[in-house]
């Protein structure tokens, strides 16, 4: 009823079953989740827990087998610029320069050339790639590619950014820098972020809420609110208490039969 409580994303009792070569695989069972505007939510779990499936349903790349996926209370019918996706393997267009990759979205949506150029310029600067505006993706490091992928989604006026283990292929130093940069962008722009990871520390460092998922079939196990003040100190006792607790919970899912 009240205006501010309409969630940007609603996942209502969503299940997903794949059929390949006559075999049915239940990737996700009965998942429900709401995300409010401006929240940073991490989906955390081991492989096979359905976290990527849930993200792809939110993106509109997959349709739920049953249940509903809604954005602003309207059914998600397919991929759309309002829900930008950042892939682990970047998904940049190799034939376009950094500038044109970032301008791809606005250009596709029929914005005038001058506006596309200005928008690209602004977001190139936002992610600090000014010197590489004319470089092609194969000339960039992994960290720079992922900055382009993030800028490309922001330049397209995404309200919600869906990130599928975006820093999983990067080295530790680059990952930490990009985590900081992402939080900085999030704080400045008021974005909503849905972020898939299998790294507990990454989830605690980034998220307002952590959605714990477990495999066989994939489902949501628990949701934890992280109320540590930002910027979070990974070596603080509170951080470590939370890490220990989540770790124990994550590992208990791995060996449920032994318990």
């Amino acid at each position: 009823m009240a205006e501010p409580t309409v969630p940007i994303l609603t996942i209502r009792d969503v299940s997903k079953t794949y059929t390949a070569q006559g075999r049915r695989t239940e990737a996700l069972r009965g998942a429900s989740l709401t995300v409010q505007r401006g929240e940073f939510v991490c989906l955390l779990g081991a492989s096979g827990c359905g976290k990527s499936t849930l993200l792809r349903i939110a993106a509109g790349f997959e349709a739920p087998s049953s249940g509903q996926a809604l954005m602003w209370d309207k059914p998600i019918a397919g991929p759309a610029p309002s829900r930008g996706m950042v892939f682990q393997d970047y998904g940049l267009f190799p034939w376009l320069s950094v500038r044109d990759n970032i301008g791809f979205g606005p250009k596709s949506r029929g914005r005038p050339a001058a506006e596309v150029r200005d928008t690209a310029r602004r977001y190139i600067d936002l992610v600090g790639l000014g010197r590489f505006a004319d470089a092609y993706p194969h000339q960039l490091s992994g960290g720079m590619k992922q900055r382009v992928a993030i800028a490309r989604v922001l330049a397209n006026e995404a309200e919600m950014v869906l990130m599928d283990e975006p820093f999983g292929a990067l080295d530790a130093m680059t990952r930490e820098r990009l985590q900081d940069e992402l939080l900085d962008l999030w704080a400045r722009t008021g974005l909503t972020v849905l972020f898939v990871t299998h790294a507990i520390e990454e989830a605690i460092f980034l998220a307002d809420r952590i959605v714990m998922m477990s495999p066989g079939p994939g489902r949501i196990e628990a949701v934890h609110t992280v109320d540590l003040p930002r910027r979070r100190d990974v070596s603080s006792p509170a951080f470590n208490d939370l890490r220990r607790m989540l770790s124990a919970q994550l590992h208990s899912h791995h060996a449920p039969k032994a318990a």
Binding site: G84, L96, S108
Partner: protein
Amino acid sequence: MEGAALPAALPTAVPASGQSPRPDAPLRSLLDRLRGPALALVVPLATLALWHFATANRPYSLVPPPAEVWLALRDMAFGGINDDAFSATLWAHLWASLSRVYGGFALAAAAALPIGLMIGRVPLVRALLDPVLQILRPIPVTAWLPLAMILFGLGATSAFFLVFLGAFYPILVNTVFGVRSVEPRLFEAAAMLGCTGPAQFLRVVLPAALPSIFTGLRLGLGFAWVVIVVGEMTGVQTGLGAVIMEARQLSRTEIVICGMGVIGIAGFVSDWIVMRIGRRLLSWSPSHG
């Protein structure tokens, strides 16, 4: 004297092995750059020499010596030497062949590109066309020649048709391959950025498949040059293939060799042009450019 010269030569031999390229660096880089062309000339020059010594001053040789071929080529190009039916006709024949090669090639590209994009991307089109094309493809272009002569008569149209066929399949096959091997991720990326449906053809499929398409265009143009000669051997008045056939009937072997050489050079130049264009357009690709 020799013993004294040896130590003086040694210090220059050290930078030559790549340690500190200072005094003779410009000379060395020039030599390095000339190395490729020099090596490329070894075999042709050796062949030319062998040809010369095997044929010169032998009146009953079936193959004329290189000097005679060179003379015939100059006469074909500019006239004034033999003043016969072949004098100063080279440019007309070259132009006839060029226009057929590029005309047929352009038509083949114009047909094969859209069909290839559709076969690669639209399942219905693939189901409709792919089986038919797969059955027609193993038929050699030369086997189409009699049918072409029945359909189009003796003349330039048959040659044009054969060039079209010869260039069509390599372009088509490589376009389909290029389209089918576009990373699925790129379609997802385009879709979430707001580029969906037919717009993806121009903004994703075509550029992503371009390296493969260029391979097809190069192969197609190569086949066009192969086929044009066969096509022009069937009662066409002009064209390099026609000249070769006519010269053979008149036992003018030097003209036959001239025609072959000109075809070789023309084919090489046109491949070089396509390759240069490809390099410019594919400068983004780590395996091209």
